[in-house]
């Protein structure tokens, strides 16, 4: 079988022949073919099985509205299910397989469902799998799941890459059919920046599929000429293979460009690009979709849309049949018959539902007026049709035309609601269209060629005028108005066999009637009850017919019934394209600390903290597990000195004459009187009185402060401070700028911290405790003149400093500090040791500042000033927040020192039942203290400050654990602060 149905003509390149396979069968096609046209050329009628009944199905349309011909393309990891053969471009070596059958396509074992169809009507699942209840999970659901769905995934990682992008234009023209080309031409010649997007690989729309003339040449030639002119213009971006799938706010559109789907290999380039298009104005020229007529067994392979049949014949030089009948309710169906006859394809009957003379004389065809097709014969391919008067006509293809539905989808993506037009028996755009959008051509109900060309021009001109672009004068493309009369005729009442409305979801006329009968009378309910209009085609060929039948059955008019709401996307968008580049390690940006390289070379193990990668510990020698390293780091630091990269803490430069007054408002504690050269710990509240963030702020000079925030809240605190500066106190002279990335900052902690830093800080700076005491800060120079900032602050409870250098010196600084510290047996420590030491010292961190706790809970209630205006202080005094028996931050140690505490455990008094009524609080942070030799914890417990020494139970139903703990001070180490002031 070699292209048995190939005929003359068409826009394909016969000089090249390509091989492809369908279900392993070798076939041939040509450049310019789609998979569907090549299958038709090769005489392949049966291409898939239907979703529910596994009925044999063939190619039904020639465009993106295809409900039947869904195939799996390619193989291995590249396999892609549910691809419409009608829009899949052929390439040399393409492999395609049919889907939704068990066993071979011709003998699908699941076809038994078709014989059970009397039981499988609308709502079957809802009605049937109700009882017994226990059967659902174990029996019904697994069976339904295994038989549901269409194609299958490869279950391998997608080897292709995807990209995204942003485009801007004055005018976006959606669709490159006659009205779209006309609109683009007008706009382009006027100098506007134009984007012309079309889902097809060959612009022209129906001009390529029909035999109408424009400007005295064939439509396809005119399209090609126009495209050539547009392509040569700098102000035009012509995007083929690009579907504008969604209309979003303020002229923003989503578009999917298929860059390499038509190639055997992507060549390492993105397979598809998801574009965001910002347009000043848009003209929707999306054309119209032909709709079927429902009659008995109208789903057989070989029953096709009339416009699709002529597309295959005219554009692709492939005929879907050798003996074709046309069934129509309108003039346009006759043009299919004529085009076929002109090409020498036998048309043996034209069946028109109207009682009127022939529209066009078709040689060799018998005309049946006021007639209907009642039934068809031929399970795997149509063999004959039966008319309502029982005449049987042998055919191998039936072309059906039920009229045209304007493609109004994008007009409805916001608040547009289509309006019914009786004169063309179709919905046209109505309601409020997306901002900046107008509609032209068939999409707007201008179904004739001349009117489409005219309206494309007119809409573009109006849009340009609206944005102040002068429209260049030019001659309009000329064409004739073809005959387009039609009547409303939706289904053949004389049919006693099942008549399909939605081929993709196997919804029949009877299902629609049943839904109405059972009370699902709203069109939205009809959709959900019958599944009509769902899945990959979103009912492009079925929705309008379905609601027309519903209207008829319910005794309403079609506009009364209305349409379901069209939502993006217009056609399916692969998940890969939506994800774009955001995959694997590039899922989101990562941030590295300045000493990252040094850490990598020195045993650092990294942990993700927000976007940051931080060293969690540094493995040395034969340390076997993380605890070995962390315990050692804590001990070395407390015994001598440790060094930790703390760059990730947010740093905000605060300057201005009112900087002090401003800080006094954003911090709950007093900041107005902080001396130059001093640092203060500050706590920020939310306006509701709950703690927000904490950190230190250093006064570097009269009007210059350097604030630190927690790592997690750096961005949020900056945002809040900008809010305070601009919206709450707009007349303060205060300026903020982030310097988080600008300074590499290191904590140097431990009894030898000063000794170490003395070797690095230049000699002229007095480092003595008297000259530079606890909470001092200043600008210094190090290593012979390098500017640095020195802060005497401590998170570990040790004598400690933080020293900051310009970030580009950070890696070198880490190395220098470790080198200088060698004589003291200094060690670098990571976030785990940092965490252990802050728990030992009783410092609150994220676990304690969790968005539920107040300064009162943290034992810092007195810090919240009531003598000044500051964020949060008023509501922090709400009675419920300042109760005497409020939870308080305390330390906890296990009664049995061998026991390991568990964070998240709740405290229950001894003897009380472990339930929420008896809940006393919870454990927030735990660590093994290598200094104390046992597990320690921080936590909140009711009236904790008065309960020191009491034994309570720490219960974790989650872990199934319970242990006795003693309430103690949160400051396990150096409670009097002698070490840090040393």
């Amino acid at each position: 079988m070699s292209q048995s149905n190939r005929i003359n003509g068409g826009l394909i390149d016969r000089s090249q022949t390509w091989d492809f396979t369908f279900n392993g069968k070798k076939m041939q096609g040509h450049p310019g073919d789609t998979l569907a046209s090549a299958l038709i050329a090769n005489g392949q009628k049966l291409v898939g099985r239907s979703f529910k009944y596994h009925r044999p199905r063939g190619i039904f349309t020639a465009g993106s509205e295809e409900p039947n011909a869904l195939v799996q393309l390619r193989a291995g990891a590249h396999q892609e299910p549910n691809t419409r053969a009608t829009v899949a471009e052929l390439f040399d070596g393409l492999t395609a397989t049919s889907q939704n059958h068990r066993g071979p396509l011709e003998y699908d074992f699941m076809a038994v469902t078709d014989f059970l169809s009397p039981f499988l009507s609308a709502g079957f699942y809802y009605k049937t799998f109700m009882w017994p209840k226990a059967f659902w999970e174990k029996i019904y659901e697994p069976i339904i799941r295994s038989s549901a769905g269409l194609g299958s995934l490869s279950m391998k990682e997608d080897p292709d890459s995807y990209d995204k992008g942003f485009l801007h234009c004055d005018l976006l023209v959606i669709g490159a059919g006659p009205s779209g080309l006309s609109a683009a031409l007008t706009a382009a010649r006027s100098g506007a920046r134009v984007i012309l997007a079309d889902e097809d690989f060959r612009p022209g729309g129906r001009l390529n599929s029909e035999t109408l003339e424009v400007d005295g040449m064939s439509g396809s030639d005119w399209a090609a000429h126009t495209v050539a002119e547009l392509s040569a213009m700098d102000n035009v971006r012509l995007m083929t293979r690009t579907t504008v799938y969604g209309a979003y706010d303020h002229g923003t559109y989503g578009a999917l460009e298929k860059c390499t789907d038509h190639l055997a290999s992507s060549g390492g380039k993105p397979r598809q690009i998801l574009w965001r298009i910002y347009s000043k104005r848009a003209v929707l020229a999306a054309g119209a979709t032909e709709r079927p007529i429902a009659f008995g067994n109208n789903d057989r392979p070989g029953v096709m849309m009339a416009s699709a049949v002529r597309t295959y014949v005219n554009r692709f030089g492939a005929t879907p049949g050798q003996q074709v009948a046309v069934f129509t309710n309108n003039d346009d169906g006759w043009r299919t018959a004529k085009d076929l006859a002109d090409k020498g394809v036998e048309v043996n009957a034209v069946i028109d539902t109207r009682n009127q003379p022939p529209v066009i004389e078709i040689p060799g065809a018998r005309y049946h007026r006021d007639a209907k097709v009642r039934d068809t014969i031929g399970r795997k391919g149509i063999k004959a049709i039966t008319l309502a008067d029982d005449q049987v006509i042998p055919v191998d293809c039936l072309a059906v035309s039920g009229g045209w539905n304007p493609n109004v989808h994008l007009t409805c993506h916001q608040r547009g609601r289509p309006e019914w037009r009786d004169d063309i028996n179709a919905f046209v755009p109505g309601g409020v269209l997306p901002v900046g959008m107008t509609v032209a051509g068939a999409a707007n109900g201008q179904l004739s060629l001349a009117s489409a060309l005219q309206e494309g021009h007119d809409q573009a001109a109006a849009q340009l005028k609206d944005i102040g672009i002068k429209v260049a004068k030019a001659k309009l493309p000329q064409a004739e108005d073809e005959a387009r009369e039609s009547v409303a005729f939706w289904h053949v009442k004389e049919s006693d066999k099942r008549a399909w409305v939605d081929l993709q979801n196997d919804v029949t006329v009877k299902d629609v009637k049943l839904a109405n009968h059972e009370g699902f009378r709203s069109v939205e309910l009809l959709k959900r009850y019958t599944t009509m209009g769902m899945a990959t085609d979103q009912g492009k060929t079925s929705n309008i017919s379905g609601l027309a039948i519903l209207a008829e059955e319910a005794g309403k008019t079609i506009p009364e019934v209305g349409t379901t709401i069209f939502r993006p996307p217009y056609t399916p968008v692969p998940m890969g394209a939506l994800g774009g580049r955001a995959r694997g390690k590039d899922f989101r940006p990562y941030r590295l600390t300045p000493s990252h390289k040094w850490a990598e070379a020195n045993g650092g193990s990294f942990v993700t903290v927000g976007n940051w990668m931080r060293a969690e510990w540094y493995t040395r020698g034969n340390e076997k597990g993380w605890r070995d390293s962390v315990d050692r780091e804590v001990q070395m630091t407390r015994n001598s000195v440790g060094i930790c990269d703390v760059t990730t803490l947010g740093k905000i430069d605060v300057q201005g004459k009112d900087a002090a007054a401003f800080l006094n408002k954003v911090y709950a504690n007093g900041f107005a009187k902080l001396d130059v050269g001093k640092v203060r710990y500050g706590i920020m509240l939310r306006e509701d009185g709950i703690c927000y963030d904490d950190g230190t702020t250093a006064r570097m000079s009269e009007n210059h402060y350097v604030m630190t925030t927690t790592t997690a809240n750096a961005v949020l605190v900056f945002r809040r401070m900008e809010f305070a500066r601009q919206c709450l106190w707009p007349n303060m002279d205060v300026h903020l700028i982030s310097t988080t990335d600008g300074w590499a900052q290191f904590a140097v902690a431990g009894p030898n911290a000063r000794n170490l830093l003395r070797k690095v800080v230049d000699d002229e700076h007095d480092m003595s405790n008297e000259a530079f005491p606890f909470m001092a800060c200043g600008e210094v120079t190090i290593c012979g003149g390098m500017p640095a900032r020195l802060f005497r602050i401590s998170f570990s409870g040790e004598l400690a400093y933080e020293i900051a250098v310009p970030a580009r010196y950070g890696n070198s600084m880490m190395s220098v500090l470790n080198e200088a510290g060698a004589e003291f047996d200094a060690c670098p420590y990571g976030t785990e040791a940092l965490g252990v030491m802050r728990i030992e010292k009783g410092h609150a961190a994220g676990n304690e500042l969790n968005g539920q706790t107040t300064a009162h809970n943290l034992g810092m209630g007195r810090m919240v000033s009531q003598k000044k205006e500051c964020i949060g202080n008023v509501l922090s005094q709400r009675p419920e927040l300042v109760r005497d028996d409020a939870i308080k931050l305390m330390g906890f140690k296990p009664v049995n020192p061998e026991t390991k505490l568990i964070a998240g455990s709740h405290f229950i008094n001894k003897g009380a039942e472990a339930n929420m009524d008896n809940d006393q609080g919870w454990m927030t942070s735990v660590a093994y203290s290598p200094i104390l030799g046992h597990s320690i914890g921080l936590g909140f417990i009711k009236s904790g400050d008065t309960r020191k020494g009491e034994i309570v139970r720490a219960v974790s139903p989650l872990h199934g654990t319970e242990m006795e703990v003693e309430i103690c001070s949160a400051h396990f180490i150096d409670p009097e602060g002698e070490r840090l002031r040393a």
Binding site: R193, R591, V734, D741, P806, Y809
Partner: protein, 188 residues
């Protein structure tokens, strides 16, 4: 002599790559200092800037270059950047001295990493990650704008017809470089 010396290792140091007609390089020794205009002292500050650089602080979104090659970028109503070539870490002191205390300055040199992308198709590459209109109608030579690319806050400046200066946070330089390189590779 001090016992220890510090060496500078800016994250994209020395980067210089060619892809077809595009060149991607990291400018060397680029110093950046922010200048905030005091509330109520704007005029005095603008005067001081003009006196220091010989050019006025431009309008928001614009750049101005002094005879000495310093570029002023206005990022917001009350804040601008001065960008100049200067290897040592004392850029802030230099700018501060020039402005004689009439504006608040902050060293931003190490806050940012910078890439310069040039070449006829550079706009095609940037279109993949930059939401702004990069065509002449929307982005003239001499403009500098702040936006977001691949989730990263970015300053993009058009320094010549086919040359773009891109600045983003220095800690995420690796992700930033990856974003730009991927865009270039995807179009070249």
């Amino acid at each position: 002599m001090p016992e220890f010396t510090l060496t500078a290792e800016p994250p994209l140091m020395g980067l210089n790559e060619t892809f077809g007609d595009m060149v991607l390089r990291a400018p060397a020794d680029m110093a950046i200092v922010s200048i905030a205009l005091p509330l109520g002292g704007e005029e005095a500050a603008l005067k001081a800037i003009k006196a220091a650089y010989g050019v006025a602080m431009p309008e928001v979104g614009q750049m101005a270059t002094s005879k000495g090659g310093e570029t002023l970028m206005r990022m917001s109503m009350d804040q601008g950047f001065v960008v100049f070539t200067h290897p040592t870490p004392d850029a802030n002191a230099i700018v501060n001295a020039k402005l004689k205390g009439k504006a608040y300055t902050t060293d931003q040199t190490d806050v940012w990493c910078a890439l310069e992308l040039s070449g006829a198709t550079s706009r095609d590459a940037l279109e993949r990650i930059c939401p702004l209109d990069l065509h002449d109608a929307g982005f003239a030579v001499g403009e500098a704008k702040r936006t977001m690319m691949e989730h990263l806050g970015t300053i993009i400046a058009r320094t010549d017809t086919d040359t773009w200066l891109l600045m983003s946070g220095s800690s995420s330089a690796g992700s930033f470089l990856h974003a730009i390189e991927t865009s270039i590779k995807n179009v070249s």
